[in-house]
C-alpha cells in the first residue's frame, strides 16, 4: 500500500511549484485532480520547448502533471459554486497558488473553505508571503532567486551574478509544501482538525542558502566572494571545483592540497602546508591545479585519485550518464502509457519505500478530461 492511498487532493495551482508538490503526493499514493480554467488550463501547458512536443503538450507540463486527473471550472461563475463546494467537502487537501487577494475574491480563502470542510489541509504557495510590500509582486522563480542574493554565490568572481540554471526556488518551495501537507495530515489523525500550510518562493530559496547565509549573518556581514577560478562554493577552500583536463572534465571535492600535490605529481602545490592558506589563497592554488590537470586526461587523473580515496569524479552529461551501469541499476526512468502505448519517458519518484520503487504509468490529463466523473 502506498503511504498516501485514500488521500484526495484538489489542485488549483499552476506552473511548477504547486504542481510539483501534487506530483509527489500522487506518486506517494494520493489521488490528484487538477482544477483548470476552461479553454486554457494550467499556464504551463503553453511553456513551449523547441522540437519537443508530447501528445501536443509541452514536455515541461508533461513531466510535472502525469499521474493526475483534470477538470475545468469557471471559478468566477455562480453556477460553479455548488460543484466546488461538493468537491472541497470530499477532499483532504487543497493546493493553491493564486496571487494574494485572488482567493478571497473568488471565495476560496482558507477562511471560506474551512466552513465547507474543517478537515481540509489548505496549502498555499506564494512568491513572498501574503502580507507586506512584496505580497503582490509576481511570484516567479528567477525573480525570487534574484531577490534572495543567490546569484552572487553561483558562477565565478567577475561574472555577472549568475542564477542557478533550473527553477530551483519553485522546486524547493513545492517540496516544502509537501512536507507541510503531510505533517498536517498526520496531525489531523490526532486532532480531527485540518490546517493551513503556507510556503513562499523567497523564504524557500533563502532556506536553501541557510548554511552560508548563517555564516554571513554572524561574521559581520562580509559579502560572499566567489572563487575567480572554477567556483563551486564561495565558502569552501581549494581544491573544491570542476577542472578541465586534456580530455574531459574532472570534479574534485574537499581534500588536502599537499596530498593532492603528491598524488598528481604537482610540486608547486607542496608548499601549501598551512591549511588556512587553502582558503585564503584558494584562487592561486586552483590556478596551479587548473594548469597542471590540463597535462593529462580525466581518466588518467581519476585512476590516481580514486585509488587514494579522494572525493572526485568525471563530469558527465546526460548522454554519458545514461550509459553508465551505475545509473541503469537505479531504474530511474519510466514509460508513461496511454491505452497501452508508450507516449513518453520521464523520471520516477526519487523515494523508495519498503524496497519498492514507485513507478506510475498514468499519463498527463487532457484539459477537463474528467469533468463527467467529478462534476
Amino acid at each position: 500500500m502506498r503511504p498516501l492511498e485514500g488521500v484526495k487532493v484538489l489542485d488549483f495551482s499552476q506552473y511548477l511549484a504547486g504542481p510539483s508538490a501534487t506530483l509527489r503526493l500522487a506518486d506517494l499514493g494520493a489521488k490528484v485532480v487538477k482544477v483548470e480554467r476552461e479553454g486554457v488550463g494550467d499556464g504551463c501547458r503553453n511553456l513551449r520547448v523547441p522540437d519537443c512536443e508530447i501528445e501536443g503538450e509541452s514536455p515541461l507540463f508533461c513531466a510535472v502533471n502525469r499521474n493526475k486527473d483534470s477538470i475545468c471550472l469557471n471559478l468566477k461563475a455562480e453556477e460553479s459554486k455548488k460543484s466546488l463546494e461538493k468537491l472541497i467537502r470530499e477532499s483532504d487537501v487543497g493546493v493553491f497558488s493564486f496571487r494574494p487577494g485572488v482567493a478571497e475574491r473568488l471565495g476560496l480563502s482558507y477562511e471560506d473553505i474551512r466552513k465547507w470542510n474543517p478537515r481540509l489541509i489548505y496549502a498555499e504557495v506564494s512568491g513572498y508571503g501574503s502580507e507586506g510590500p512584496w505580497a503582490k509582486k509576481p511570484g516567479q522563480d528567477l525573480l525570487a532567486q534574484s531577490l534572495s542574493g543567490l546569484p552572487w554565490l553561483n558562477g565565478n568572481a567577475g561574472d555577472a551574478p549568475t542564477p542557478m540554471g533550473l527553477s530551483i526556488a519553485d522546486m524547493f518551495a513545492g517540496q516544502y509544501l509537501v512536507q507541510g501537507i503531510i505533517s498536517a495530515l498526520i496531525r489531523r489523525e490526532n486532532t480531527g482538525e485540518g490546517g493551513y500550510i503556507q510556503v513562499n518562493l523567497l523564504e524557500s530559496i533563502t532556506d536553501v542558502q541557510f548554511e552560508v547565509l548563517t555564516t554571513y549573518l554572524n561574521d559581520g556581514h562580509c559579502p560572499p566572494q566567489r572563487c575567480s577560478v572554477n567556483n563551486a562554493n564561495a565558502y569552501i577552500s581549494a581544491p573544491y571545483g570542476v577542472y578541465e583536463t586534456k580530455e574531459g572534465y574532472l570534479a574534485i571535492a574537499m581534500c588536502s592540497i599537499v596530498v593532492l600535490g603528491q598524488l598528481l605529481g604537482c610540486d608547486e602545490l607542496l608548499k601549501y602546508t598551512d591549511e588556512s592558506e587553502w582558503a585564503i589563497k584558494r584562487d592561486a592554488i586552483k590556478e596551479i591545479l587548473k594548469e597542471h590537470l590540463m597535462k593529462n586526461t580525466a581518466e588518467h587523473w581519476l585512476g590516481i585519485l580514486e585509488a587514494a580515496d579522494i572525493w572526485c569524479s568525471r563530469v558527465l552529461n546526460w548522454d554519458e550518464l545514461f550509459q553508465e551501469e551505475g545509473f541503469q541499476v537505479l531504474g530511474m526512468l519510466q514509460d508513461i502509457r496511454r491505452d497501452r502505448n508508450t507516449v513518453f519517458q520521464t523520471t520516477r519518484c526519487p523515494i523508495t519505500i519498503d524496497g519498492e520503487r514507485y513507478y506510475s504509468d498514468k499519463p498527463v490529463p487532457m484539459l477537463g478530461q474528467n469533468n463527467e466523473q467529478y462534476l
Binding site: 503511504p3 506517494l28 499514493g29 520547448v49 523547441p50 519537443c52 513572498y128 507586506g132 510590500p133 512584496w134 509582486k137 528567477l142 525573480l143 534574484s146 531577490l147 542574493g149 546569484p151 553561483n154 542564477p163 540554471g165 533550473l166 527553477s167 530551483i168 518551495a173 517540496q175 509544501l177 503531510i182 498526520i186 496531525r187 490526532n190 493551513y196 503556507q198 510556503v199 523567497l202 523564504e203 524557500s204 533563502t206 548554511e211 548563517t214 555564516t215 554571513y216 549573518l217 570542476v242 570534479a251 572525493w311 569524479s313 563530469v315 552529461n317 546526460w318 551501469e325 551505475g326 541499476v329 537505479l330 530511474m332 519517458q345 520521464t346 523520471t347 519518484c349 519505500i353 519498503d354
Partner: protein, 382 residues
C-alpha cells in the same frame, strides 16, 4: 499544536543531507536526538567555514543542528548497543547515512531494527543506492552534481560545466527523505506498521532535473543548450536572464518581445518572428543587454514595473536584509548560547495555521543529553 509533536527521531547521520532532514522534523515539532560517536561526534562539528567556531563547534554545526539533543554511544560497544536498542524500541523514526553495509555490521540495519520495533520508520540516505558499481563510491554533493549532468545546465554556454554554488543535492535529498518519512508515519497511523525509506543523492539530483530530462528523452535526445549570454535556464527562451545595468543588475522573466521593444525603446526587437525567442536567443539577449547597460536599474524598474512586466533588481544579501519586503517576512531568528552569546540564522520556511515557528536552542554539545536520556530509559524500564 505543532504537527509532529510526540514523534521521537533518532538521527545517526552526519554532515548535511540527513541532519537537514531531522532539522525540518524538529522544526515541525518532533524531538530529535542525535546519536553520536563518543569523543568526536558528527563530523560537521569540525567543518568550519570562514573560521567561525562557537563553543568548540563550528557555526555550521549549530546552523544545521539547532533544536536537537545529543546522545553519545559507541555502536561497537555491547553495553552501549544494548541501551541504543532500548532507545530504538521507544523511537518513531531512525535516520542513518552510513556507507552501505555499515549498519548491518553493527546489527542496526532495517531488518534487525524492525525486529526490535516493527513500528519504526527507518530512513537511509546513500550516494547512489545500495546496489551496482557505484554503491561504495563516496556520496558527496559536488561529485554527484558532476555525475548527474547538473553542471551542464548552469553558467553560460561557452563556459566549462559549472556546478551550482551550494550543496543543493544534499539539501534536496534531505527534503525527499523527510517526505518519505512523513508519508510513512501517516500510513503507520492506518496500518500500525513502520517502513523503510531510502533515498540517494543521485536519484534526488536526477529528480531536480526532471523537466529537462523529460524534454531530452522525448525530443531526440538533444543535450541541453545553455544560453551563451546571461544563461538562466537552458529550456527557457529570451529574454529570461539577469542583465547588467549602468549601476547594478536586473532580472527579466519571460515576456513578450514586442512589449519589451516598446518599454525599452528598442525597435530592433520588433524584427524578430515568433520562435526566434529560442532560435535566436543569444542574439536577442545581447541586444537587450546592450540597451539595459545604458541606464540605471531604477530607471528600468520604474518603466517595467509600471507596465507589470515581470522583473526585479538583483539583490545582494545586504540589500535583501535591508528591504521592507524581507523584513516583513520575519524570516530570521536568534539562537541563544549558554554564555549569553547569540547566533542569527533563518527559521523554518513552512508556516502552519498562520504561525511561523521560531526556536532559540542552539546545537547541542556533544553528549549533552546522554545522562538525561539514560535516566529516561531507566525510568521507563523500571
Amino acid at each position: 499544536m505543532k504537527p509532529l509533536e510526540g514523534i521521537v527521531v533518532l538521527d545517526f547521520s552526519q554532515y548535511l543531507a540527513g541532519p537537514s532532514c531531522s532539522l525540518r522534523l524538529a522544526d515541525l515539532g518532533a524531538r530529535v536526538i542525535k546519536i553520536e560517536r563518543p569523543g568526536s561526534g558528527d563530523n560537521c562539528r569540525r567543518t568550519i567555514l570562514k573560521n567561525m567556531v562557537i563553543e568548540d563547534d563550528s557555526l555550521l554545526f549549530h546552523t544545521i543542528n539547532r533544536s536537537k539533543e545529543s546522545y553519545c554511544a559507541n555502536m561497537k560497544d555491547p553495553d552501549d548497543l544494548k541501551i541504543l536498542k532500548m532507545l530504538i524500541k521507544k523511537a518513531d523514526v531512525m535516520i542513518e547515512n552510513f556507507r552501505p553495509g555499515v549498519m548491518k555490521k553493527n546489527g542496526l540495519d532495517y531488518e534487525n531494527v524492525r525486529g526490535i520495533n516493527p513500528r519504526i520508520v527507518y530512513g537511509t540516505i546513500t550516494g547512489y543506492g545500495d546496489k551496482g558499481p557505484w554503491a561504495k563510491k563516496p556520496g558527496q554533493d559536488l561529485v554527484v552534481q558532476s555525475m548527474s549532468g547538473l553542471t551542464w545546465l548552469n553558467g553560460n554556454g561557452g563556459n566549462p560545466p559549472t556546478p551550482f554554488g551550494l550543496s543543493v543535492v544534499d539539501s534536496y535529498t534531505g527534503v525527499h527523505l523527510a517526505e518519505g518519512i512523513l508519508a510513512a508515519l501517516y500510513r503507520r497511523i492506518k496500518t500500525g506498521r513502520g517502513a523503510q525509506v531510502q533515498v540517494s543523492l543521485m536519484e534526488s539530483a536526477l529528480d531536480m532535473q526532471f523537466e529537462g530530462i523529460t524534454a531530452y528523452l522525448n525530443g531526440g535526445k538533444k543535450l541541453p543548450v545553455r544560453a551563451e549570454y546571461n544563461n538562466a535556464h537552458p529550456y527557457l527562451a529570451a529574454p529570461y536572464g539577469i542583465y547588467r545595468t549602468r549601476d547594478g543588475c536586473i532580472a527579466l522573466s519571460q515576456g513578450s518581445l514586442k512589449d519589451l521593444a516598446s518599454y525599452l525603446e528598442l525597435p530592433e526587437l520588433n524584427e524578430y518572428d515568433p520562435g526566434d525567442e529560442f532560435g535566436k536567443r543569444d542574439e536577442i539577449k545581447k541586444l537587450i543587454g546592450s540597451r539595459l547597460i545604458q541606464q540605471t536599474t531604477n530607471h528600468w524598474l520604474a518603466i517595467l514595473e509600471k507596465e507589470d512586466y515581470w522583473c526585479c533588481e538583483v539583490y545582494t544579501w545586504e540589500k535583501m536584509l535591508e528591504s521592507e519586503g524581507f523584513k516583513e517576512l520575519k524570516f530570521l531568528q536568534t539562537l541563544e548560547l549558554m554564555d549569553g552569546r547569540e547566533i542569527v540564522t533563518s527559521r523554518c520556511p513552512i508556516k502552519v495555521d498562520g504561525e511561523a515557528y521560531y526556536s532559540r536552542r542552539p546545537g547541542p554539545k556533544l553528549g549533552a543529553d546522554t545522562e538525561k536520556i539514560r535516566q529516561e530509559i531507566g525510568e521507563v524500564e523500571a
